[in-house]
């Protein structure tokens, strides 16, 4: 089987990329999705808050997904469901499998859109027993929203990520009790609007600078021990308190899903956990593009869609031989409180009129400048209020800014002279 472009993953990223690849002139576009329906993680996010940027209205996850599923259908994009991609290679050969067998597909371009997975307890090594009743927030979300089962009656949530906070509210609405949301940091990791709408409105305490130091219960969770932590995240002796509960939910981070990328020898950024990409959302392997949570974890689906449209359009340009590759790479680096920048490297010739840089900060900055430099020379600066680690920054920059830039692009957060 041959396709102009094959998109792996049918979440919002995959849908966006496929639609845009088609729009940009490719005739045979395929999405491969391992679930029985497209839509990705959105299908279990039945709360609203999706699409504010793109549609200027608040949709639920499934509603947002449906708009793109409909577009994909209209555009005659092939979708293989209940089919898992098991390997990809540098020369863009794909192996996939479903209940009718194993298929091999050659692709003009591949777009990786496999999303991310949740970090589990093992990754954070909470000591104590290993009973039933410990779930990642996303798993609990699936049980409650899709299967229709409750995971517990008295719940403690570790981690202040968005899914954790959303699940806190969900459990209360289902008649359960949430003792507290425990954050290891001095700020909530998720969106401020979720702190307000999911915790404050329901009087669920958010315990900042705390950690679970032990889980007890031989068969089912019986209690957990919680303690305060200092600036170095070490437990402050004497602050330990034991809480009875039957369930612990973990919302301790998401990891881009990159087994397939590794199989193809794609370079992975340790910081984001996703592929290193260029201005065109192309990975280190020519013709393999990536977008959405597989590249870096997004908090807003609107940004996923925008990023994936770029990846899809560029995949089409690649197949048609339209990406201008003459200029050398400039490499982006971050400093002064910024934790990463996507894309990782830029070619001036291949850039479109505008470039979106996606950035995150390490803590809360009430007022700051994002400064872009080429070695010593300042190219641009942008004022930002209220940057928080929970909210990804999208910094749009005109192509012309980079016109005479040559070396390495430094992106720095500056707070000097500001309060």
């Amino acid at each position: 089987m041959d396709y102009d472009a094959v998109v792996i993953g049918g979440g919002p990223a995959g849908l966006g990329a496929a639609i845009e690849a088609k729009k940009n002139g490719l005739s045979r576009v395929l999405i491969i999705e391992r679930d029985v329906e497209p839509g990705g993680i959105l299908q279990q996010c039945i709360h609203n808050g999706f699409g504010l940027h793109i549609f200027k209205e608040e949709l639920t996850g499934p509603e947002y997904a449906q708009r793109y599923i409909d577009m994909a259908k209209e555009d005659n994009i092939d979708i293989m469901l209940d089919t898992i991609v098991t390997s990809i290679s540098k020369d863009r050969k794909i192996k996939a499998m479903n209940s009718s067998g194993i298929v091999s597909i050659s692709a003009g371009a591949i777009v990786l859109a496999m999303g991310c997975r949740e970090r589990t307890r093992g990754a954070i090594a909470i000591p104590g027993d290993r009973p039933a009743g410990i779930f990642t927030a996303g798993t609990a979300q699936r049980y409650i929203n899709i299967e229709g089962y409750m995971v517990g009656k008295k719940v403690i949530i570790l981690g202040s990520g968005d899914i954790g906070m959303i699940m806190a509210r969900r459990i209360v609405l289902e008649g359960g009790e949430v003792i507290a949301v425990i954050a290891r940091s001095s700020f909530a990791k998720g969106l401020t609007r979720n702190v307000v709408q999911c915790l404050d409105h329901y009087n669920i305490p958010l315990l900042l600078n705390h950690n679970i130091i032990e889980i007890k219960g031989k068969e089912r969770v019986e209690s957990v021990v919680i303690a305060e932590t200092d600036a170095k995240k070490e437990v402050i002796k004497g602050t330990e308190k034991e809480y009875e509960c039957d369930t612990v939910l973990l919302s301790v981070g998401l990891i881009p899903e990159n087994e397939l990328s590794r199989l193809a020898g794609i370079e992975i950024d340790r910081k984001t956990g996703g592929p290193v990409v260029n201005e065109s959302m192309e990975t280190s392997v020519p013709g393999i593009f990536a977008c959405g949570n597989v590249v870096h974890v997004h908090d807003l689906v609107d940004f996923v869609t925008e990023e994936s449209m770029r990846a899809g359009a560029n995949a089409a340009r690649f197949v048609k031989g339209e990406i201008k590759t003459e200029s050398e790479y400039m490499y982006t680096s971050v400093s002064g409180g910024l934790t990463y920048c996507v894309p990782h490297r830029l070619r001036y010739s291949a850039m479109l009129e505008k470039l979106d840089l996606f950035l995150r900060v390490d803590k809360v900055y009430p007022d700051s400048w994002i400064v872009i430099r080429d070695s010593e020379k300042e190219l641009a600066r942008f004022r930002h209020k209220n940057l928080t680690p929970g909210e990804m920054i999208k910094q749009t920059v005109k192509k012309s800014v980079f016109e005479n830039a040559a070396g390495n692009i430094e992106i720095k957060l500056e707070t000097e002279g500001l309060v």
Partner: protein, 475 residues
């Protein structure tokens, strides 16, 4: 009435059951847990030891070396993953260099094959990630790694195929002898047998004392581990030990047969043989110990921490004999490390002892030694395609970390003894063993169990009887 009742479905009980199933006996294996391999046999270092650790002229030394030699054939017959990757005991100073030579001599005395001392250069060539300050090491080429749960499960399966019965959730509370017949009682339920074999692991002293006068004590000693992601699985090639101390063999670093990396165990004495909790302090010790061997090691990619319980006998050696004053009651007790390695030899030894005590053995003509269990992922592509054609469930991957299909999961439920719990599936086919630890596939495995066993979803438990996962329907 049974001829033989075996108490304990750990690796010891399973090995004995399989060995005895070669003969004409009515046999039953009893375990208090809801699945087999739920005791020490599920949480250990998974090493098939060479046999230089045990003191000369002990039962442990003899059965370790004999057991080790049996693994190639055993694992071939039972389709259990096993790899002789060799073990190293690393010396960091002159004193330790002397010690590894002593170990080597002990090994030779015990009959261990293929021992040698590696120079610093040879050592670092074999294991480039090792601490460059290492001075040399004892290499034992016969040591290997295995999946201990699959070993136990496959041995039980083989026994069951050859006519052995089993009963789970049978927690023996008392043993009586009425006119030469043993009556084993659990919650009012009774099972009768002419002969009893006590392979009750950390509880072997308690079980012994139900039938005979106390003659030994088992002390529980806990060991904690980190299991790291496959990304780190090839940091070392061999099983790497530091020089041993009084408390045991020390923190080791080893790949597992499934290409993860295992670090541990720590060591602490406890009163509660069922306290398998992990503690920060001891895990930290294990981590530091491992770093000493392999400096670049971090536990950043840890996917699970766990603990196992050693059954330390007060006498120091394995206790395998007919209990004094209780004719027909046989102990296989104090089976501490290298109990996994020794298991098949323990079983042979048990047969010898039973014969000596006058029990008549008649060999079966139709004993079938084979158990087949290949996972979809381990097959060739043409075999995979054929399998999907025959059963479309093999075309659906449920555990995406380990690439385990629905076909594999259903198979592990339908086998005998089959999986009835989410962890039971995991032990049999690795669904949920990977880096997301069942986060994604757990609910699906639960659904498949519910469907296959015709049991409401809420009644499917994670592991032990009361480890319920769900608390009811949503509003």
């Amino acid at each position: 009435m049974y001829d033989i009742a075996i108490i304990g479905a750990g690796v010891t009980g399973a090995a004995i059951a399989r060995e005895l199933s070669k003969y004409d006996f009515r046999i039953i294996v009893l375990d208090r847990e809801n699945d087999i391999s739920c005791g020490t046999s599920k949480a250990n270092s998974a090493i098939i030891h060479a046999g230089y650790d045990a003191e000369e002229n002990t039962l442990m030394a003899k059965l370790n070396v004999e057991g080790n030699a049996m693994f190639d054939r055993l694992c071939e017959e039972l389709d259990v993953p096993f790899r002789r990757n060799g073990s190293l005991v690393v010396a960091f100073d002159d004193e330790q260099l002397v010690h590894i030579k002593k170990l080597m001599q002990r090994g030779i005395n015990n009959g261990v094959p293929a021992l040698s001392i590696l120079s610093q250069e040879e050592l670092l060539k074999r294991e480039p990630a090792l601490n460059p300050e290492a001075k040399g090491a004892l290499l034992a080429e016969s040591a290997g790694i295995i999946d201990p749960m699959l070993l136990t499960i496959s041995m039980m399966e083989s026994a069951v195929k050859n006519g052995v019965h089993y009963r789970l959730n049978f927690d023996i509370e008392s043993i009586k002898n009425k006119g030469g017949v043993y009556i084993l009682e659990s919650g009012g339920d009774e099972i009768e047998a002419k002969y009893v074999i006590n392979a009750a692991g950390v509880f072997a002293d308690k079980v012994h004392n139900m039938a005979a006068k106390p003659s030994f004590k088992i002390k529980p000693r806990r060991g904690q581990y980190f299991l790291l992601d496959k990304i780190d699985g090839n940091i070392v090639n061999s099983v790497v030990f530091p020089c041993p101390t009084k408390m045991g063999k020390g923190t080791l670093v080893t790949p597992t047969v499934h290409t993860n990396l295992l670090i541990g165990p720590s060591s602490d004495d406890l009163d509660d043989p069922e306290d398998l909790s992990t503690t920060d302090e001891l895990l930290e010790k294990a981590r530091i110990g491992a770093k000493l061997l392999v400096p670049k090691l971090t536990t950043r990619n840890s996917i699970r921490t766990f603990a196992g319980m050693r059954a330390e006998p007060d006498a120091g050696d394995f206790i395998i004999r007919e209990a004094e004053g209780a004719p027909g009651f046989f102990d296989a007790a104090g089976i501490k490390s290298p109990g996994l390695t020794a298991a098949p030899a323990v079983a042979l030894y048990m047969v010898e002892i039973m014969k000596k005590s006058g029990i008549a053995f008649t060999a079966k003509k139709n004993f079938n030694p084979l158990v087949k269990r290949k996972l979809f992922i381990d097959m060739s592509e043409s075999a995979q395609s054929a399998l999907i054609r025959g059963n479309p469930l093999y075309g659906r991957i449920i555990c995406r970390c380990e690439n385990i299909t629905e076909g594999d999961i259903v198979d592990s439920i339908r086998r005998s003894p089959g999986a009835t719990t989410v962890d039971g599936v995991k032990r049999r086919c690795r669904a949920g063993m990977g880096r997301c630890q069942g986060g994604f596939c757990g609910p699906r495995v639960q659904e498949i169990i519910s469907r296959e066993l015709n049991k409401p979803l809420e009644e499917v438990v994670l592991e032990k009887k009361h480890s319920y996962i769900l608390t009811g329907k949503t509003k």
